[in-house]
């Protein structure tokens, strides 16, 4: 599923995509900056499937998601990021299904005139994806499958954003 919202027929405001297929990172990010000349900063975050979970080797991750709710949740958080920072573009691509070590799981990209908004918005979106977007990771290992447990450190990271953002500097 893909959502492209354009504010007043202008450039792409948000791209949200949930897919089984590997993420074409360069092509996705290119869409953010295409035909624009006001973007001075692009931050990307790529989450990659590691070959181990808590020290034990894994064969794959199986990503389950709540279709429909996931897109809506992500779209709401992208809009919240727009309300908090002067963004010029945002993109979230999240895979589901079976993902092998070394493969990408998620891509978040944010664009702004200046770097601090782009960094803050990307961190904000990742913290929310980790704690609020309805995705569940199952580890597939030699001795069976186990569900990944939510981490309190992720909850603490997401809590940071319940206060207003600490800085909205204009540094590029």
């Amino acid at each position: 599923m893909s959502v492209h919202s354009r504010a007043g027929g202008g450039p792409v405001r948000a791209i949200i995509r949930l897919q089984r297929e590997p993420i074409a990172i360069a092509a996705e990010v290119a869409k953010l900056v295409a035909a624009r000349n006001d973007i001075g900063a692009v931050v990307t975050f790529t989450g990659i499937c590691r070959a181990d979970e808590n020290g034990a080797p894994i064969a794959a991750l199986n990503l389950e998601h709540y279709s429909g709710m996931a897109e809506a949740e992500i779209a709401r958080h992208v809009e919240e990021a727009y309300a908090r920072w002067p963004l010029l573009g945002a993109l979230v691509t999240h895979r589901y299904g079976r993902i092998k070590p070394g493969e990408d799981i998620v891509l978040v990209a944010t664009a702004s005139s200046h770097r601090q908004a782009a960094f803050a918005a990307a961190e904000f979106l990742m913290d929310y994806l980790k704690t609020r977007a309805p995705f569940w990771k199952q580890v597939e290992a030699a001795d069976g499958t186990t569900w990944v447990e939510a981490k309190s450190v992720d909850d603490a990271a997401a809590e940071r954003w319940t206060a207003p953002p600490p800085r909205r500097g204009a540094a590029k």
Binding site: G47, E64, A133, A150
Partner: protein, 94 residues
């Protein structure tokens, strides 16, 4: 398990994800909860009484998250008017 309240039962689509789905043994179903079941917490308690699989899935309702019509809700949320209710473990995406 039933409550003392009168009134008609209502059909709700219920969906389960991750280990809640595995324990219940199905991804979704239509249920008819007694009219006296007013909140998510009460619905979880009622579901837990439907058999061994449900009892296992809902043995620790405090760790289970819920959504009504694809919005996160707390256990105290009222289910009246809900079209689709989902139960799942804490999210681990990203």
């Amino acid at each position: 398990m039933t409550t003392g309240s009168a009134g008609p039962t209502k059909k709700i689509k219920v969906r389960y994800f991750a280990w809640v789905r595995e324990r219940v043994g199905k991804a979704e179903e239509e249920i008819e909860a007694p009219a006296g079941i007013a909140t998510i917490a009460e619905l979880m308690a009622w579901l837990a009484g439907r058999g061994e699989a449900y009892a296992y899935a809902f043995e620790n309702p405090k760790v289970i998250r819920a959504a009504i019509d694809r919005n996160h809700v707390r256990a105290e949320a009222r289910i009246e008017g809900a079209g689709e209710i989902a139960f799942f473990p804490p999210m681990t995406g990203g």
